[in-house]
Amino acid sequence: MDFTHSDHPPVPLRRSGPTGRSGPAEPTGRSGRSGPSGPDDGALALKILVAGGFGAGKTTLVGAVSEIRPLCTEERLTEAGREVDDLGGVERKTTTTVAMDFGRITIRQGLSVYLFGTPGQDRFWFVWDELARGALGAVVLADTRRLTDCFPAVDFFELRGIPFVVAVNRFAGTREYGPDEVARALDLDPGTPVVLCDARLRASGKEVLVGLVEHAGRVHAARLLADAAPVR
């Protein structure tokens, strides 16, 4: 069994997922077979999103803390996205392609954190939904010169109950705002942490992520307690 150090694994890791049910073809049962299982068994991946307005430093932050720095794309077919094409009268379907930054931090063998930079443009919201599913939490990067740019991200995560921290990326030559000023300006729910950061610096990015994971842990623990409380 993976995570043998765990005294009480209440959730069967192999089949847990968004709905707790296993997919039809998911070969989960094979984990029970004997023999060397290899390093992949028990591998656990967590997802953290990095959101914020255009130019707020998402790519910079992901690049600063990640051990890899790739880009991946997601594409959606858009029905009748364009006019009918002349070619043979065949209506073309067009696609929308979105590029996302992503990074990885290996905590140890079998435990990795993946970071995804959310695309900034409005028309790419479909990617946000996809990304947000099952996310541990999010970092909303804020640029105090354009604070309104992160309103959509704040709303998105608040509405979905996804724990997030606001990280104020300090740009040279900008006026310093205190975390409480930013929290007020963004009308954040009480308890949502606001931290100051420099997205270019690995150490600073680390601190932001640590703050987020701790916050997410508190939020999830509070939810567990609330769920466990007797309902009247």
């Binding site: 073809a25 992949d40 997802k47 995804f116």
Partner: protein, 147 residues
Amino acid sequence: MAPGPHPRNPLAAAHHARWFDRDAGPLVRPYTVTGGRTAAGGRRLDLIALVVSEPLALGELAGPGDFGDPPALQVGPEQARILALCRGTPLSVAELATELDLPAGVVRVLLGDLQAAGLIRVRHPVLPALLPDERILQEVVHGLHAL
């Protein structure tokens, strides 16, 4: 779905090129490698779902150049690549999409085939609320500090 009007050879491509403007994108569209399918059967794979090749699958394939008849699935070059990449090392769907330079949606379809054929194992991510142990988050915090 019928294949789109995309010429398969360069001459034909040149002939048809003038019919396409820049917005038309690449002549061979990404979903060509999935036979036009845009959704995989089975459960949707998250971008951080981890994929690892079944040892069995590697035995069946003589090599990346040999596409002759594994019983369950005709493995195309992209799928052979996936099997090779995930040999022993779990890779996320996002990483595979990057390695193959294909949209994640295309990779999902390819993975769906491989999964149905029993050639890969997929580990779906755990919902944070279902994390088996709060110590995992503590481990993450410590790991981040140690970076």
